[in-house]
């Protein structure tokens, strides 16, 4: 699975009133890579994500998934949104939420059930299958959203600041959980965050964006050893170095006119 953005531009509105959110972006996400996107707040991160996932149409350029142009949400892609509370269906129980996208796939029933229970087990929520999402904590709700994405068997998992609304400890736990399922489920992850530490800790490569109108500021390769560890990885001099590199890259990015 290879995702390519080829001279992607996205403007809102048209004519003189148009605002250019993304000016020109080209990059390639490799198969089974953990690819992070960071940028100053208000740069078109979410816009870019919506273009990649086919929720928005690009104004020019194209997004390609395995060479095929993305114009609608692709079959091989799952998306996890930041607002877990608003992306889980509150009238469905946890297992129903995870099962819901699978019903369209016409899989045998026992296959569906094993996908659901495997995904819930992977995020440690087997005991909460019959709960409603709103009966769970924020971190647990986001784990439900991750389980739903995993059960869908995507080749690429797109995540829009998925851990931005949970507390610090939960966040660290969710990061490690995601790293473990990333390996286990052989999936490519496209991970948008505004947290530089998080990007360095998780990613193979980091795409740094400029403010609007957004272009590519820098591509940073993260050559930290895996498996990563919240304490050991973060005390490596290389970690501090990369963190500073990304930080400077965002800082020096010219501000929008």
């Amino acid at each position: 699975m290879i995702l390519t953005a080829d001279h992607v531009a996205k403007a809102y509105g048209n004519g003189l009133g148009a605002t250019l959110a993304i000016k020109d972006l080209s990059f390639e996400v490799r198969d089974r890579e953990f690819f992070c996107i960071v940028g100053p707040s208000g740069c078109g991160k979410t816009t870019l994500l919506k273009c990649i996932s086919g929720l928005l149409q690009v104004t020019s350029g194209e997004v390609l998934l395995d060479g095929r142009r993305v114009t609608a949400p692709p079959e091989q892609m799952a998306v996890v949104f930041q607002e877990y509370g608003r992306s889980l269906f509150p009238w469905m129980r946890v297992d129903q939420n995870v099962r819901f996208p699978l019903q369209r796939k016409r899989l045998p029933r026992d296959k569906v059930e094993s996908l659901v229970s495997d995904a819930l087990a992977a995020v440690g929520l087997s005991d909460f299958a019959r709960h409603y999402p709103w009966q769970l904590s924020g971190g647990m709700q986001q784990r439900v959203a991750i389980a739903r994405a995993l059960a869908y068997e995507p080749e690429i998992l797109v995540m829009d600041e998925p851990f931005a609304s949970v507390d610090a400890q939960t966040r660290a736990d969710l990061e490690d959980l995601l790293l473990s399922v990333w390996k286990r489920f052989h999936v490519t992850i496209l991970f948008v965050t505004h947290d530089i530490d998080e990007a360095v800790y998780m990613g193979d490569r980091i795409l740094v964006l400029t403010p609007r109108p957004t272009v590519l500021e820098q591509m940073v390769a993260v050559d930290l050893p895996r498996p990563r560890d919240q304490i050991k990885t973060k005390e490596l001099p290389e970690f501090a170095h990369l963190r500073a590199l990304v930080y400077r890259s965002i800082k020096k990015a010219p501000t929008a006119p």
Binding site: E83, R86, W91, R104, Y132
Partner: protein, 259 residues
């Protein structure tokens, strides 16, 4: 302790009103306000259960038929109008005009069109009750969180399935609010429609009693309508409580998160 007191208060006040009414009416000697005991005797003679099959059942049948039509039509058109911008623009002015027409004025037209059978009453009830359901369904659909719909799109849920499995449940709290308003309207329109070109029904009975100066009978009919309205509403609230348990839970947890 406080709950017991509140509950007691809810029982004591109605009982007090009944006793007060009984005492006052017993000595009032007023033809139009007969003694409560006469009204209750008339209630027993008429509604337990002599006129149940001849008047109460036909009344309720027509009411529920009209109400059911209104709920289904209001929900279907509400989902449609709410989902598509173009339909919303097209349907806006006619909807605003039609809902401004007071439903009882449809009675003369309905009698001409449907004759004096039960159909015209069902039509009037449905035509009046459809608006609160429709308008609330439209608002309910429009108020759906975009993230919820984006989630459904990302997982490539087919359009029709989105409508039934995402849009309808997400809008259902608002639809229920409309249904509740419509239920009390249905009772009103049931009575009004029975006061015109009718041979049975609770409304017909009340009007007949008044015209033949059977004042206790008239009062007993009013009492029955009050009890019916109360019971219907209580039943509806219970149904809503069960079906929308998720909604109350989700709201409570959202409030907690915001606090």
């Amino acid at each position: 302790m406080r709950r017991v007191r509140d509950l007691l208060l809810q029982l004591v006040v109605p009982a007090g009103i009944l006793v007060g009414w009984g005492l006052w009416s017993a000595q009032a000697q007023n033809f139009f306000f007969p003694p409560l005991t006469d009204i209750l005797a008339s209630f027993r003679d008429n509604w337990l259960f002599a006129r149940v099959s001849s008047d109460v059942v036909p009344s309720l049948e027509r009411m529920l038929a009209g109400y059911a039509i209104a709920v289904v039509a209001g929900t279907v058109f509400g989902l449609l109008i709410g989902s598509f911008r173009i339909v919303r623009w097209a349907a806006g002015p006619p909807v605003e005009f039609l809902r401004a027409i007071p439903p009882p004025v449809l009675i003369p037209f309905a009698i001409l069109t449907f004759g004096i059978g039960p159909q015209f009453k069902v039509f009037v009830i449905a035509a009046g009750c459809v608006w609160p359901v429709l308008l609330n369904a439209i608002d309910g659909v429009r108020g759906i969180d975009p993230t919820l719909q984006e989630t459904a799109r990302v997982y490539r849920i087919p359009r029709l399935r989105q409508l039934f499995s995402v849009v309808l449940p997400a809008a259902s709290p608002r639809i229920f609010a409309g249904m509740r308003t419509a239920l009390s309207l249905a009772l009103i329109l049931m009575v009004i429609s029975e006061m015109e070109a009718s041979t049975n029904g609770i409304g017909f009975f009340i009007l007949q009693s008044q015209r033949s100066f059977a004042i206790p009978d008239m009062w007993s009919g009013m009492l029955l309508l009050g009890l019916l309205g109360f019971t219907l509403n209580a039943g509806f609230v219970e149904l809503e409580r069960r079906l929308l348990r998720w909604h109350r839970g989700a709201q409570a947890s959202a409030l907690e998160a915001a606090a």
